[in-house]
Symmetry: C2
Subunit: 226 residues, 2 copies
Amino acid sequence: MVLTLEKIKTPPKVSDIAYKALKERLLELDMSQLSDEGRLDERVLAKGLGVSRTPLREAINRLVVEGFLKVVPRKGIYVVRKSKQDVIEILLVRAALEGMAARLAAQYVTKTDIKKMKAVFSRFDPLNMDGKYAEYADANIEFHEFILKTSRCGKLIEMANSIFDHMRWIRFRAVAFEGRIKPIHQEHLKIINALEKKDPDLAERRIRSHIEGLAQYIEKEVDFLE
Amino acid sequence: MVLTLEKIKTPPKVSDIAYKALKERLLELDMSQLSDEGRLDERVLAKGLGVSRTPLREAINRLVVEGFLKVVPRKGIYVVRKSKQDVIEILLVRAALEGMAARLAAQYVTKTDIKKMKAVFSRFDPLNMDGKYAEYADANIEFHEFILKTSRCGKLIEMANSIFDHMRWIRFRAVAFEGRIKPIHQEHLKIINALEKKDPDLAERRIRSHIEGLAQYIEKEVDFLE
DNA sequence: ATATTGTATTTGGTATACCAAATACAAGAC
DNA sequence: GTCTTGTATTTGGTATACCAAATACAATAT
């Protein structure tokens, strides 16, 4: 052998592409204004994506398992609507998962990690956050992903990511942030503090109440979820 | 209309039957002795179940999403083997979910509930448990399902059940019980006690350490997981 | 005998044909 | 006009045909 070669990437499956495309469209969909009761047409979708029904159905089934779609036999495919109760339950699960993640993270976290996360938030002035919602939303995501990653628990990361998709789907981010961005920021700093102290109980408690606080806010203030 | 009729149940889909049958076979499978490296053959399975490939593939895909099977493009379908690390991670997630469930359960639990659960365990004499492993295993399942149910959180129940399937699959129940059945029983009673006191923090902590204890035991004593 | 290589077979992936249930709708009865 | 009811259409569900990649294997050269 005179040639040094590297493995070439296996060509992607059509069903995978269809899945990603369909999920993307779904996530950017505004549920609150769906025509036809959120009904989808297999054949139309297949035509639209330029694939046959078989791989498309595979994609649909995956989305059904994930809880984004619902198939009613011989009736149709429907976009699943989330009730306020659904959102609360999702947040409770998220609190449970991230709480455990924080516990583990407190065990593994390094000084470098802490420094990095502090840097992410140091760009924000707690007294002047107006107009920085979008920017802070990014930092927020980075923060929560940091905790997950630092937990070093693949299963936890996997399940939390699945939950995140549902969170993204429900477009209350903006409304949930407005007016709450200051306390949220303080909570973030407090959580980092607990991690720095390597206190699992404290870290868990703080991130749990952080997320449960969001749930309580939704419960009280949000009303566009039927 | 002179006849009073009730809705008839919609006929089950072939893919559903295939899914259930396949999953059942999988769960009763002893992974530690798989020929052919746990490879499955689509066409053989289809023939065996008496269905065509299409609904079978749907069933397979569901099992892939659930983490029981893995499909390697143009190679084959394989049974996923769980490493010790996988099991530990699953138990951590379970601890997180059931911990939150216990928290909620402490909030909702009634005196009747407590009485019922105490009755389940009162059949056992802590000093003489020998030969009651199977019986106690049933009580154990009933206990954990009770907490989930009492949490009244559908999402939590759903995700925990998915985890349970994986637990069932890994056949360490007998070995995990032997010699540990007494402390396990004590822990169960302690958890019920915390619920009775309606103390969410205590209930959460106790059930978490209960499950984490199992994880530590597996870590130390179990060695048949590669 | 061993190594190479062309070929048949097997595998999962995809497209398509067909079915039965659900539905829409129009023709006919009143 | 309204109500029935038969029929065409549309839907998701299933079976099957076909493809390309992977593999097994036999024929061949050395």
